[in-house]
């Protein structure tokens, strides 16, 4: 059993078969092998745009949900003798 596991983990053929939906006839876009090798310069271009977008999603999510909770807030004060 251990031998097969070792085999599995070993990076054999670059099997590009995606599950189910096939890519176009040309071999599907090769997944970039590990970021380290591909980005020697260590600088990702145009980073800040994505950072702001992500923070907008984070803050927006909190605000929008707070608003939706407020709109759905229970109008009457829930009866104190509430259910078990």
């Amino acid at each position: 059993m251990k031998r097969t596991l070792v085999n599995v983990v070993a990076l054999g053929l670059a099997l590009a078969a995606r599950l189910g939906v096939a890519q176009d006839a040309a071999p599907p876009q090769q997944h970039p092998v590990g970021i380290e090798k591909a980005m020697p310069s260590g600088v990702v271009s145009g980073g800040w745009g994505y950072v702001y977008a992500a923070y907008a999603v984070a803050l927006g999510g909190l605000v929008l949900y707070a608003v939706s909770l407020w709109t759905r807030r229970p109008s009457a004060q829930p009866p104190q003798g509430d259910l078990p």
Partner: protein, 253 residues
């Protein structure tokens, strides 16, 4: 920014949560305290994440997304864990409070999960050049999110409250059990296709901000679950009032 500050914040949020649970009289306003503290911590997080923290060695500034993305995923996992805990508790002993907490934690979990996955793909775009990356964490969270969206839809489609409570508990358990299997199978399936993306080596400064972000989101998780719980309880009490005291006459015949 002392390394222990996230710990202090954590102590604060735990204190708030425990007092809320232990001292019922504080339940009227404790969530406001948590909300206020949370907003303060959030402002600090934005500053820390965008300005104070050094750019990450490999991804430079894009790494800053992690300071909000990872906490969101953690809160999603925590919320779903609370939900499955309530589901199991409900199946063992029926209680409308448990059912309301299950509903609340599921919805809040879906919120954090959706945000987390969205940020995950925003993060993947510049880093991997693709919007959707077969990273096991992202896939496991998305599958989890889908089964809980199914859970919420199922709850809204089932009318009878008793049946809805029992059945959604079953759906929650079946859904939650899939998480470890999804994680394992995707990581295994994924490892055949590419080198497993090594987790970024975060230095101590970044680690502090990451933990600060996580604890900040804990505040909001607590406030959201408390408020959504109250909504669920009020919906329950309108639908499930106790039976009226029936006037009973002896049957003459």
């Amino acid at each position: 920014m002392p390394y222990w500050s996230p710990l202090a914040l954590l102590a604060l949020v735990l204190g708030v949560v425990i007092t809320h649970l232990a001292v019922p009289s504080t339940r009227g306003w404790m969530w406001m305290v948590a909300g206020g503290l949370g907003m303060l911590a959030l402002v600090a997080l934005i500053y820390l994440g965008l300005v104070w923290a050094p750019p990450e060695a490999f991804m430079s500034d894009v790494g800053r997304i992690l300071y909000v993305h990872v906490p969101y995923i953690w809160m999603c996992m925590l919320a779903f864990t609370i939900n499955v805990g309530c589901a199991i508790a409900y199946l063992m002993k029926k209680s409308w409070r448990t059912d309301a907490l299950a509903e609340a934690s599921a919805e809040v979990g879906v919120l954090f999960g959706a945000g987390g996955v969205l940020m995950g793909s925003i993060w993947a775009r510049p880093t991997w050049g693709v919007w959707w990356d077969w990273d096991p964490r992202l896939i496991a969270t998305t599958v989890m999110l889908l089964s809980y969206v199914g859970y919420l839809a199922f709850r809204s489609f089932t009318e009878d409250p008793e049946r809805r409570a029992t059945w959604s508990a079953a759906v929650s358990i079946l859904g939650y059990v899939s998480l470890p299997i999804v994680w394992f199978s995707v990581r295994w399936w994924n490892s055949l296709h590419q080198v497993q993306s090594t987790t970024q080596t975060l230095d101590s400064a970044m680690r502090i901000v990451m933990w600060w972000g996580t604890v900040t989101m804990l505040f909001f998780l607590f406030v959201f679950i408390v408020k959504r719980y109250e909504i669920a309880r009020s919906r329950q009490s309108s639908a499930l009032e106790l039976p009226p005291e029936a006037a009973r006459q002896e049957v003459a015949a």
